[in-house]
């Protein structure tokens, strides 16, 4: 396990930079992770997705997949890709301070 310092706070992260303890997450941290990953500022639409992601994980123990996000978060998949370039589910999970969504074989 490694640590990262973001916005002056040191947190535990995995090899890909996902927080290992969701309890260490703060909104400032989220903004800092966003900036590190090419999102200069988190808009209300970003927050809608990040909050949905985080709440679902804390409630169910599983991060939603991109299809679930498209159906349930109120933000269509096309827009998700515009908001979170490359991998919306992965990036929103990272910003939300929860583990990387598990791909299943």
């Amino acid at each position: 396990m490694t640590t990262a310092t973001l916005s002056g706070t040191t947190v535990d992260v995995d090899a890909e930079g996902f927080l290992t303890d969701p309890a260490e997450w703060t909104e400032e941290l989220a903004a800092a992770i966003g900036r590190e990953n090419g999102i200069p500022e988190l808009t209300p639409r970003h927050w809608q997705v990040v909050n949905y992601m985080r709440t679902t994980y804390l409630d169910t123990g599983q991060a939603p997949s991109i299809r679930s996000l498209g159906k349930q978060s109120g933000v269509p998949i096309k827009e998700l890709y515009a908001l979170f370039p490359k991998g919306p589910a992965k990036l929103a999970a990272k910003i939300g301070g929860i583990p990387k969504p598990r791909g299943c074989i």
Binding site: R67, S68, I77, C104, I105
Partner: protein
Amino acid sequence: MIANRLRRALTIDEAAITVVDRDDMHVYQPGLLFVPFGLTSVEEIVRSRRRQIRDGVELRTAEVDHVDLEMDRVHLGDGETLPYDVLVVASGSRLQPEETEGMTGPGWMERVFTFYTPEGAASLAEALRSFDGGRVVVSFVDLPIKCPVAPLELAFLADWYFHDCGVRDDVELTFVTPLDGAFTKPVASEQLAGLLAAKGIGLVTEFATGEVDGAGGRLVSYDDREVPFDLLVTVPLHGGAAYVERSSGLGDDLGFVRTDPRTLQSTAKPNVFAIGDATNVPTSKAGSVTHFEAEVLTENVRRYLAGEPLEDGFDGHANCFVETGFHKALLIDFNYEVEPLPGRYPSSLGPLPLLKESRLNHMAKLAFQSIYWHMLLPGREIPGISTQMQMRGKKAAATASA
């Protein structure tokens, strides 16, 4: 299969067993991979369901409307209700081509195919017979899908087919995946990417398909990348059975039954269990998985009825042959924790190499159809193959997998 196993485990006095299924056509689904290349036909891989079921099991041919978890009743499409003490949901997964924009539009079943249905596989066979060159794209939209290695196998077999037809040099073959590599897990992904490269098959990764433009011959991703095609073989999105979605509390947002990954008991109600593609457990949706689950599930249904604690014995074990063409295949064996590793199977002295092409693996894959009808469906064990994945014979990766 689970009904046959339960019938053997429970006497007629202990339980009456009823199977509800929508039709009397059981498809040997692994065979669909071979239909497009004329290596088998739809007639050869379809049999009557009724004839696979043991005496002492009633078969009802009906659609299920929904399950009432509160009242322990299955509501059939014709309005009849079936009360139960224990329910096992084994309704598989459902293809949802209509969920992807344009997929079922112009060109569907003409230049845009799926081989995941008997009709699709047969139409693709027809199209391939007259295909003499151009851009062929093999893709899947997103996980989960049944048999996640099947799209790769289709690409490998297409390479072989075009080679044998003498047109391989005129075909640009490309594999398009939403994953960041050829496969989900690192060791196998690297091995399979190497095979794609060696066969001259292009690999496009992290491609989240947003639209299929059949008329224009384009796959378009959500982030506006495009892959052109003359012929597309794709695997549509999958969801659970529609009745699971209509049954309050039973399924997740994709219609797969919320299931304890170790006991296979539904998390919604203790007298409901699920098996195979119908579950949301995080392993492959593959026939081998269902076989391994069946042993744990049968025992747990027996324990539940006897008032005993359930065993948490299912480890996510999957075992898949991967056809690579030219009479060869790979074998992968893995579970929830252990990714597919190289080595030998079923032990270090075993005849079958893991993650490595061999003729014997290909022959084993072909022999499997007979094992399926004569051992798996009747609910018998395969000698020497254990339910839990074994580490013996496997070469562990240098670093621990996540």
